[in-house]
Symmetry: C2
Subunit: 255 residues, 2 copies
């Protein structure tokens, strides 16, 4: 965990304090010299993760097929040696970018993008208003009410929600919102993105790419998303529940 | 949404009723004739999803670059035509199998696997006991208590939790548990997998691959995971909160 100085708002009163945030690291896995995947993960029990990932993804036949796992914790790189017959016979290298929750694919480097960001417009919102928007947001999905099985995403002004979408994947819900905003030619640089999920660096990348200056989430951010948000003065509010929220970055936009 | 007959348990009493479950479909996106990705998603607003995904992933420069999107809802396939200069210049085709929540990669077809499944052992558990295990499970992660930013996964017998792991990604948490179980040579076919997350077909695939006969989750399943679980008589319990849970498949293993 990494500790950040944050601003919490509860019942309208602001407090500065230190808050622990979960760490996120990119772990690149090489199998028999070939790069297989990069997982964004918590930096604990990484050998467990590697073995489990290879096994549940169908690469590893059984534990005896794993000759060695060498972990380089400075570069977050793992070199795995499997026996020649270690790959399962029914192994099909079919890439499905799934979205049970995370979509799991990044085509760019968020930090490279962070360097380029410039907001054309901007936004400022009262803390009570953003909590109100979040309350409205959480009632928008009939499917969520019925199944508890979908995430929501929304684009809002400082006054109201403009676009709401839901999906079994939280990345998808956000992508649907952005897709509709593009069709409608809605400007993004003075809007707020709301999400029911947590904020990893992949979610923050989407917000950066769209030049949206504020993201507000029911869930918690990772340390990487907090760092990127601070680098570009993007407002990141999380853990929004009832009359309470934590502002991890850019609290100047929330009065 | 798809309706399934399920068994709910509340305060120890079993009720059969119909319950709506969120649908999950695999949407394959082809860009200029080249297969790009398959997203597991909810089957609504798919054109929004495609445009938003292409834009936030850095493929689409702007909406005017999108010449056409043809959606085949029978085969869940989208053919997208972008203008030649529609791809963003800073586009880097770097595949990062992320895990902000979902890891987002399947190397096999869960239904093919379902055909092969055979449990060597089995398990039976009292409904109060599994609710107790879940209560214990939810207090295991110090990091979750501190940050609310990680998911948990565990392997349990009908009596106790054997292995617990947490991670910013719910897939990773499960993979870590399985990795450790493989190292310890723990048999899996008479165990229960616990997860703090929701159950999509990707999560169910992991359980199938490990021949674990029961999964219990705080979250909800998708219709695909319910269908696969029923095909192989795998016990799938979800929405476990306090003294309440819903059994979507294989209720015979829960007394």
């Amino acid at each position: 965990m990494e500790s950040f100085e944050v601003v919490t708002i509860q019942e309208g009163s602001k407090t500065r304090k230190f808050s622990p945030v979960s760490e996120e690291v990119p772990l690149t896995i090489e199998v028999n010299g070939r790069e297989l995947a990069t997982l964004l993960c918590s930096p604990n029990n990484l050998k467990n993760l590697i073995t489990g990932f290879l096994y549940t993804s169908g690469f590893l036949k059984d534990i005896t097929s794993e000759k060695s796992v060498i972990l380089d914790s400075e570069r977050w790189k793992a070199m795995v040696e499997l026996t020649e017959d270690g790959l399962k016979e029914d192994y099909i290298f079919k890439r499905v970018y799934t979205s049970g929750c995370g979509k799991g694919i990044l085509f760019h480097n968020p930090l490279d993008m962070a360097m380029q960001i410039k907001y054309d417009d901007d936004i400022c919102i009262h803390n009570e208003k953003i909590l109100d928007l979040m309350k409205t947001f959480q009632k928008q999905s009939d499917e969520h009410q019925a199944t508890h099985g979908v995430h929501g995403g929304a684009l809002a002004t400082s006054e109201e929600i403009l676009i709401f979408r839901d999906d079994i994947g939280r990345h998808n819900a956000i992508d649907k919102v952005i897709g509709e905003a593009l069709y409608q030619h809605v400007g993004l640089s003075d809007k707020i993105l709301l999400t029911s999920g947590r904020i990893s660096s992949e979610i923050l990348s989407k917000v950066l790419r769209c030049r949206i200056p504020m993201i507000a989430a029911v869930g918690a951010p990772t340390n990487q998303s907090v760092k990127i948000a601070r680098k570009v003065n993007l407002t990141l509010a999380g853990l929004m529940r009832g009359s309470r929220m934590t502002i991890f970055s850019g609290d100047g936009r929330i009065r």
